[in-house]
């Protein structure tokens, strides 16, 4: 079961089965201590903004060093980003606009964009693979 961990040096928060050995923010070794979700929420209460343009940049950066890229079809990407933000407005999370949430929160976390599409049949072992909605497509060999 995943739990919250706090770096006692820089207050970096990690959510996972076990903490990182080295804090990725301050590089301190064996720095994490387990905390409650309430504590984690308080520490993370600083608001950060993510508008559509920032999200577009974030997914571009995310794809940069991967075998996939953001779909070059801008029209499609625009529609999908509209859908993702509409999901967030109505359902609190940036869910995939091409799959419906089940209302089981843990299950629905699998639908938050970007999802783990590398294991999906629309992507895995496919030369022209793409995530289910088509926001990410496999990078062509150049």
């Amino acid at each position: 079961m995943k739990r919250y961990w706090r770096c006692h040096v820089c207050n970096d928060i990690h959510y996972g089965i076990k903490p990182p050995e080295i804090c990725p923010t301050c590089n301190f070794k064996n720095a994490y201590v387990e905390i409650s979700s309430a504590e984690a929420k308080k520490i993370q209460s600083g608001e950060t903004e993510m508008d559509k343009e920032k999200f577009r940049q974030a997914i571009g950066k995310f794809a940069e060093k991967n075998e996939f890229q953001v779909n070059p079809n801008q029209e499609k990407v625009n529609m999908l980003i509209d859908g993702i933000f509409s999901c967030e407005e109505n359902h609190w999370m940036k869910y995939c606009p091409c799959r419906l949430i089940t209302k089981d929160f843990d299950e629905d976390l699998k639908l938050v964009c970007p999802c783990n599409f590398l294991i999906h049949e629309t992507y895995k072992d496919k030369e022209d693979g793409e995530c289910w909605c088509g926001l990410f497509v496999r990078r062509k060999n150049e």
Binding site: D82, I84, C98, R99, L100, T102
Partner: protein, 92 residues
């Protein structure tokens, strides 16, 4: 309600691709396919979720859009499809 339902999302590109094919199918075959938008209409979303056990096994374990369902036979198709495959589903 028609026995044939298309569950779709307003911002789903696959759904947009399929819409003209559904229009054509209705026109050519004289049938009605109920289009139910699920991301902006909670009633439609609940209806799709009520068919979760039938839809998910045939759609990669998820409630994908578009999903085409025959509520009498429980025949399911999902995703972007060739016109002939959609027609076969609708007229079976």
């Amino acid at each position: 309600m028609s026995k044939l339902i298309m569950f779709h999302g307003r911002e789903c590109p696959h759904c947009q691709v399929m819409m003209p094919l559904v229009d054509r199918l209705e026109k050519e075959e004289g049938i009605k396919i109920d289009r139910k938008e699920v991301w902006h209409n909670e009633k439609n979303a609940d209806l799709m979720r009520s068919y979760r056990d039938i839809i998910e096994p045939k759609c990669g374990g998820q409630l994908r859009t578009p999903s085409f369902m025959n509520t009498e036979t429980n025949d399911i198709l999902c995703g972007e499809l060739e016109y002939d495959k959609l027609k076969e589903w609708a007229t079976r």
